[in-house]
């Protein structure tokens, strides 16, 4: 009997071992980051994790500090300004990109219009172009349009990603039945009203997910701002944190504190929008 129970447990044990392993891989670096952000330089160099020593709880408290955070917000580094820049850039891009992709994806799934096939091919073609290939031509365009060193120049190329159009197209096909749109048409809504009042709420899980995706993409964008922006005061967090390091000396405590600060808003956003991932909003709209 015992043996039988044990044999059933083997897959269970394997699954849990795997989950534990994955958790460790995910959690340890995060833990490392958090602890390192609170260490003095010496503490950083002498201990990998918690600085063990003579103090209470067996920790050498003299090697822990919150000084790094203070330094981050000093005017010399100006992370406060960079934080505002990053939030503005990411939020604007996320909202614009989500709206535009939803509009385009919905149109290509639910409406008939001239050139629809060509549009769909264009989206597919854009999907398979590797982004680094576009750096040079984009730069040239931005130069021609006089958009270098402006946020417009950074946001504009990011507001209509092909994969977003594609995602929303699929989401519309899957969760917005044609008959609901037709019912709205008979009920007297105009086409834009149908999109806004009927389709968009039904696409809400995708809207939430895509807001996060696009926000993160701009938040973590490191190469883009360095290419497009020149003025120091316009730089976002990703760039500014990196700039705290010099060629001769890496201030790891500062780097870790900066990274932690840059993670927090994203974590908050994620927790806030997480509910939207819970799909099933549209279940039951149509026959059950």
């Amino acid at each position: 009997m015992n043996g039988k129970r044990f044999s059933i447990s083997i897959p269970w044990v394997l699954v849990h071992l795997l989950l534990i392993a994955v958790s460790i891989v995910v959690i340890v670096p995060l833990l490392y980051l958090v602890i390192s952000a609170f260490k003095t330089e010496q503490g950083f160099l002498e201990h990998t994790f918690i600085p063990i020593g003579e103090g209470a709880l067996g920790i050498d408290w003299s090697q822990l500090t919150i000084r790094q955070f203070g330094r981050l917000f000093e005017s010399e580094i100006g992370i406060g300004r960079a934080l505002v820049n990053s939030v503005f850039l990411s939020a604007t891009t996320a909202v614009l990109a989500t709206f535009i992709c939803a509009l385009a994806g919905y149109a290509s799934a639910a409406l008939e219009f001239k050139g629809k096939r060509a549009f769909e091919w264009l989206v597919l073609a854009a999907l398979i172009i590797p982004p680094p290939l576009l750096i040079a031509p984009s730069y040239q365009w931005l130069h021609t349009l006089g958009l270098l060193d402006s946020y417009t120049g950074l946001i504009l190329p990011a507001v209509a990603p092909a994969f977003g159009v594609f995602l929303f197209r699929q989401a519309t096909l899957q969760s917005v039945p044609k008959s609901i749109l037709e019912a709205a048409r008979i009920d007297g809504l105009g086409e834009f009203g149908i999109f806004l009042v009927i389709a968009l709420p039904m696409l809400r899980p995708m809207v939430g997910a895509f807001l996060i995706i696009t926000f993160l993409a701009m938040w973590n964008n490191f190469i883009g701002p360095q290419i497009v922006l020149q003025s120091a005061e316009k730089q976002p967090l990703s760039v500014v944190i990196y700039q705290t390091q010099t060629a001769y000396y890496s201030d790891y405590g500062l780097l870790m504190a900066g990274t932690l600060v840059s993670i927090l808003p994203v974590a908050a956003l994620f927790l806030f929008l997480q509910r939207d991932f819970i799909a099933g909003l549209s279940s039951g709209a149509v026959k059950g």
Binding site: P177, S179, I180, E182, A183, A184, R185, I186, D187, G188, L189, I198, P201, M202, R204, G280, L281, S282, S283, G284, A285, V286, K287, G288
Partner: protein
């Protein structure tokens, strides 16, 4: 309320697919007309052209006195109920019903009055604050109905509104829709592929096949006087028996035979003199059990028996290879393998031309 007119209406899809071919139909104000036919015959397409959800390739549709070919769906003053109900999932039942009224700019208290009215008629009171996801199929169906009624449109358009309900509820809803129509007297066009539903609901039926109207008439008329073999076979359950053979009519005497065996002899009204290939049609209900000695009786062998409460369907064979189904009273002595005698209710025998169209030969004074 309004009459609906279809004049030589065609729907031709891309790639030359003619889904609806030259449909002419005149629906009177207040009438309950059912479009019925097998899957793919163009019922929905016809309905959707009336609604304005599908463009009209050729011909003209008018509602009331107005040609609506170029009128947007919202301006046609129609309401439609879809097979999958098409309720707005993120709105409560109340908002679903009030939605079109709100868009039309109706004052709030008038909207409330209508919603109250409708929910009373359909018994939706307890559901008003719920969302469609929290309703059963039957309840959703009622909400969809309520949404249509609240608009008080000129014409109701229904596309298989009951087909997602279970059998019992479907029958109950039929009765309800009928009494609703008696009360509101709104012109109604109702699409179904279920001939039984069509027969019970419609004051007039439009039987369609392959994009064309086959016959228009009252349910009784269509049941008793089908114009062709398609209509005869489509309407009625179990389906009419068809037997191919030779028809001879001379001096009022009719003889129908196959492979030299007489299948029917006697007199049938409205048959012109002829000698040709034909198809005989007889409903299972018109085949009677006869006693061995009686004059017109035909010996038959029972292959299979399906009891249905007080009646049963029996599969029989006459002259060895001519199979038929008969619906007879549940009777002892008729069992699979037994030998019986049958007779026809001769007033209910139909003859059809043997070509594909199968037009009925014994047309009455229709």
């Amino acid at each position: 309320m309004a009459a609906v007119e279809l004049n030589s209406v065609w729907k031709i899809y891309a790639g030359d697919v003619s889904a609806v071919k030259d449909v002419n139909l005149s629906i009177e104000s207040g009438e309950f007309v059912v479009l019925v036919g097998p899957s793919g015959c163009g019922k929905s397409t016809t309905l959707r052209m009336i609604a304005g959800l599908e463009s009209i390739s050729k011909g003209e549709i008018s509602i009331g006195d107005r040609v609506v070919n170029d009128v947007a769906p919202k301006d046609r003053d129609i309401a439609m109920v879809f097979q999958n109900y098409a309720l707005y999932p993120h709105m409560t039942v109340e908002k679903n019903i009030a939605f079109s009224l709100k868009i039309s700019g109706m004052p709030k208290d008038e909207i409330n009055k209508r919603v109250q009215n409708v929910s009373e008629v359909l018994g939706l009171h307890d559901l008003l604050k719920r969302k469609p996801g929290a309703l059963s199929g039957g309840q959703r169906q009622r909400v969809a109905l309520g949404r249509a009624i609240a608009r008080d449109p000129k014409v109701f358009l229904f596309d298989e509104p009951l087909s997602n309900l279970d059998a019992k509820l479907r029958v109950a809803m039929r009765t309800e829709m009928k009494s609703l129509h008696q009360r509101l007297a709104t012109t109604t066009v109702y699409v179904t592929h279920d001939q039984e539903e069509a027969m019970t609901l419609g004051s007039r039926l439009v039987v369609m096949n392959a994009g064309q109207i086959q016959q228009v008439g009252t349910p009784i008329d269509i049941y008793n006087n089908p114009t062709n073999r398609f209509v005869a076979g489509f309407v009625g359950s179990p389906a009419m028996n068809f037997i191919e053979g030779k028809l001879q009519v001379k001096a009022g005497q009719t003889r129908f035979s196959r492979n030299g065996f007489d299948i029917f002899t006697g007199s049938v009204s409205n048959l012109p003199d002829t000698e040709s290939d034909a198809v005989m049609g007889i409903r299972p209900q018109s085949i009677l059990l006869a006693s061995e000695g009686s004059s017109d009786s035909i010996p038959a062998k029972v292959d299979q028996v399906e009891p249905l409460g007080d009646q049963m369907d029996i599969k029989i064979r006459i002259h060895d290879d001519i199979a038929m189904i008969a619906r007879v009273p549940l009777q002892t002595g008729v069992a699979a393998g037994s030998d019986i005698h049958i007779a026809y209710d001769s007033g209910k025998i139909h003859f059809f031309e043997s070509h594909a169209e199968g037009t009925r030969i014994n047309r009455g004074a229709e």
